[in-house]
């Protein structure tokens, strides 16, 4: 493992990530109007290629809800899911009958963008509060494309500074069922150091 973060720092990050996941869970449940559990699945430093492999099949398509963060902790947070899961989520958000709408139109994209805005800010503000920081997110973006295409476009920013990424994966559960959504936060190493003791 690259030595950008010591094992102590990685452990501290894990504790902070758990707190942030709890905060995220509360915000997401309120937004959805039903209980959704969010828990930390893993916190690790991985080479870019392993990050792709751990996030899904590179050639598969996914709907990625992305938000770039420029102040507080720099990086990108993204919620990835299949198109079907994204449409199911939209149905829940808009109170529509299941499978009422099966295309990602402007309304659907807007609902999904607001989702990453709420979920991402809840997560990142909790993480940043450990150092008394407050994040300033950029506008949320919804992309439907190949998993690797999305991830590498995000990682191109970080590739200027590092060859590996801090990979913080969160898992979602509803009524005891693990949902196929992945919330991934990819912070820049240098800014992450600011929130660690």
């Amino acid at each position: 493992m690259p030595d950008f973060l010591s094992s102590t720092e990685l452990n501290s990050l894990g504790v902070f990530a758990d707190r942030a996941a709890d905060n995220c869970s509360a915000a997401f449940s309120k937004w959805l109007g039903r209980s959704v559990g969010v828990s930390t699945d893993k916190v690790e430093v991985v080479p870019f290629s392993r990050l792709i492999a751990g996030t899904g099949n590179a050639d598969e398509s996914a709907v990625a809800l992305c938000m770039n963060v420029e102040e507080g902790i720099q990086g990108t947070i993204l919620l990835m899911m299949s198109e079907r899961d994204a449409l199911d989520l939209v149905d829940m958000l808009l109170g529509r009958a299941a499978e009422a709408q099966r295309t990602l139109g402007e309304l659907e994209r807007s609902a999904l963008a607001e989702t990453i805005n709420i979920v991402g800010c809840a997560y990142l503000n909790s993480l940043a509060s450990n150092a008394g920081l407050r994040v300033t997110p950029g506008p949320p973006v919804v992309i439907h494309d190949l998993v690797q295409s999305v991830l590498e476009s995000i990682l191109a920013d970080q590739a200027q500074y590092q060859d590996s990424a801090v990979d913080i994966h969160m898992r979602f559960t509803n009524a005891g069922r693990v949902l196929g959504w992945k919330l991934v936060f990819l912070p820049r190493f240098d800014s992450l150091k600011r929130v660690l003791p």
Binding site: V141, D145, L146, V150, S153, D163
Partner: protein
Amino acid sequence: MSQDRTIFMAEMSVVLRPDILRTTLGSCVGVALLDEHTGAMGLAHVMLPKADAKGGTISTPAKFADTAVPALLKEMGIISADAHRRVRAKIAGGANMFSKIVQNGGILQIGEQNIKAVREVLAHFKIPVVAAAVGGSKGRLLLLDPTNRKTFVSCLGDKPTEL
């Protein structure tokens, strides 16, 4: 039996028939080189234009346009002076996936810079770019098949077409 090999970010590889190389591209540029003498095909997955953007030693030459092309030529056993006589290039990728939020030439517009850098480096080695599928806002799949010396490209939901 043929092998289907996937190249990830900042990686490169060379294959002979019957093996196949593939990669998935967003803002990165896939540089496909065909050695017309041997039929070998090489592929580099370029993430950034120049190695000096990072500084320090280059442990992953395929990551940068200016180091990827010479490294791939070396991997293919071709000396630079011979490249223009026997090598043809096809390139794909360089999309701007975040076109709605990125303005003023920010780093997430790196796709255009990657395309420009790759073209410049190939021109430096006098390697002709015989086909390109670059730019836009969509990711691409790139596949190299040395058996018939062909390269295929596709976007999400599209059928592969020969590049």
